[in-house]
Amino acid sequence: MTTGSSFGSGSGSLGCKQETGVMDQFPAGLRVLVVDDDVICLKILEQMLRRCSYHVTTCSQASAALNLLRERKRCFDVVLSDVHMPDMDGFKLLELVGLEMDLPVIMMSADGRTNLVLRGIRHGACDYLIKPIREEQLKNIWQHVVRKKWNENKEHEHSGSVDDKDRHKRGGDDNDYASSVNEGGEGALPSHRKKRNNKEDDDGELETDEPGGSKKARVVWSVELHQQFVNAVNQLGIDKAVPKRILELMNVPGLTRENVASHLQKFRLYLKRLSGVAQGVGPSSFCGSMEQNSKLASYGRFEIQALAASGQIPPQTLVALHAELLGQPTANVGLPVIDHQPLMQPSKCMQVDHVMSYGQTLPSNITKQVPQSVIEDVHSGLGAWHSNNMVGGYGQFGGQNGHNMLFGMLQSQSQSQSQSQQVQKQSITVQPSRLVVPAQSSANFQAVNNGVPVNPSHQTTSFNRSSVINYGVGQRSETEMKMTGCAVDVENRIGGQGSVANHSIKEMGEKQISFGESVHVLDQGPLRNLGFVGKKSSIPSRFAGYEAESPTHNLNYADNNGERRIKQEPNIDFLENSKAGGTAVTHRVSQNDLMSVYSE
């Protein structure tokens, strides 16, 4: 149902200026379609947009809006849509518009909670406005239109498109001074605009023919793509990396600066999380937190490893990250791993080797910087894992599963640390079982385990001793595999290298480093293989339920978790789950860790 007044408005929206589009009286005359089931908001927005000299069309139903857009594709420049609508989910409309019409879509909602905003961005929204919307915000929406067009032009890398941009820009500048709708601006560069608009149409055609269609679809950050990204970032230096330069370095057709920018943001948060996690680790009670601490630390270190493994992290960044991670080395390693340290010594060189093999391309100098804490953490981490979860289905794990397990473990480690106590409790019990041991180290570890009492308090000494021995002795290959597994998973996240990474990715069944989805798959596979006494029953059922949830649901949880410390409102899901069962919470927690790394 369309509001009659605006639909057939006398300002000429019916005679949709097809040829002259945006550039006509830019930014005045921008053709906006507003979709919102709330009539009040619709009316207010309409008035505001009119005052910005835009052409406004309003729709109170999403389906009607879609029909309108389909009928008159070239008649609109930007779409403003509410998130919560009765006949269609705003995000769905957003995706459809992005796919079919490739128009910039700005989401709006009274609900400004981060998880929802994140969803909007993930679905491809150019912007997310939180009601009440002010006029000043609407004044800026033309930027999204321009930005989108420019990015598309740039992707084409045609000489023609460069001209487009110039003309575009000139037109834009000229019209900036024409604040109100008038003919003056139009008169200024009529020929240019005509040409540009024809070209624009051509570009439009080209875009549709573009095979990857990556401009329309969301970018899938595959391992290779991410690796390119990481390479570019490292080349520029993490502090100086700007999306534009990264984009240039990556030189990937079809990738927009916006894609890179959002990915960079996630990456930065992720790195911050690494350091933040390490700093959060401190001296704490022995058993549970020890595991978490060490796991956290080892998690972080694996990440550092991976970063180092990529061989391109500038030493200062690596050192800085590492220093942060180390934080209080005694706390990390000393207290919980008190017995480990002396035991570590003899095997240290071995560990270095492992580290090296794990890293595969690790330059030796970096390795030397890193080894100690990595080793210790691996040990403590492993020790912790084993203490709580002996045997189990180790042998069942193929390489990938093991990797996945480790991966899952890594996430749950970090996540558990940042969660509140109630979660931690559960995570203690569940995590180790999930961690298990990757690869074919089953025999190895079983041997180890036999000699080790399950009691966690004993684990450190005896277990580590044996584990040290095993490491030292002949089980190199398995350990390597395991380490490689770690590397692979970690690398998967960061954009690993080498064939193993790809192999694991296939196993995961997902090619993207999407921070919720791949984790999701990861966690389920290996878990099914696990034979955990007492855990088995609870986990799979929860996961079965969890499986049904869409990846975006994970996002919600992740963000809930991430936001947990900030405000109470978004925590419903989280609270419900914690009521339902600890394992579920943990599961989400671990997945969320991956998510929250990027979303926090």
Binding site: D38, I44, R50, R51, P132, I133, E135, L575
Partner: protein, 147 residues
């Protein structure tokens, strides 16, 4: 700004979004504010009725529907600058999310109360404004109408 309006601001009943609304009123839309507010009353009462109907059910509450209605009420209230109503909606929403029945009931009561207060005050405000306009017209006959 007249005294009532500043009082309402002071009480937190209205916020600066209401001022934005007033600024949107111009020659092309001379009665913009009253039009919008009238629609707001109409829609809000509809939503409040919906909410109450759901809450009247002794057994099962459709929390999803509650959320939907609340969201809309929240959106429109914030859009016209009804700050207190909007805040109550937010608290109500939290109660819904926590499946807290008693809190929901309380929230609805407060919401209805706040809404009534708002409606009365806004009516008063319009009356004052109308009288002022009339007064101006009387006092300055033949003067250019400000609208």
């Amino acid at each position: 700004m007249n005294r009532l309006l500043s009082l309402l601001f002071h009480q937190g009943v209205l916020d600066e979004q209401f001022l934005q609304l007033q600024q949107l009123q111009d020659q092309t839309s001379p009665n913009f504010v009253s039009e919008v507010v009238t629609i707001y009353f109409h829609e809000s009462e509809k939503q409040l009725r919906n909410l109450r109907n759901i809450l009247l059910d002794r057994e099962m509450w459709d929390y999803v529907k509650l959320g939907i209605h609340l969201n809309q009420l929240m959106g429109s209230s914030s859009s016209i600058g009804a700050k207190r109503v909007r805040n109550i909606c937010a608290a109500f929403r939290t109660a819904v999310e926590q499946n807290n029945r008693s809190a929901c009931m309380r929230a609805l009561e407060v919401l209805e109360h706040e809404y009534c207060y708002l409606k009365n005050k806004l009516h008063e405000l319009f009356q004052i404004e109308q009288q002022r306009v009339l007064g101006d017209a009387v006092r300055y006959p033949g003067a250019v109408h400000h609208q």
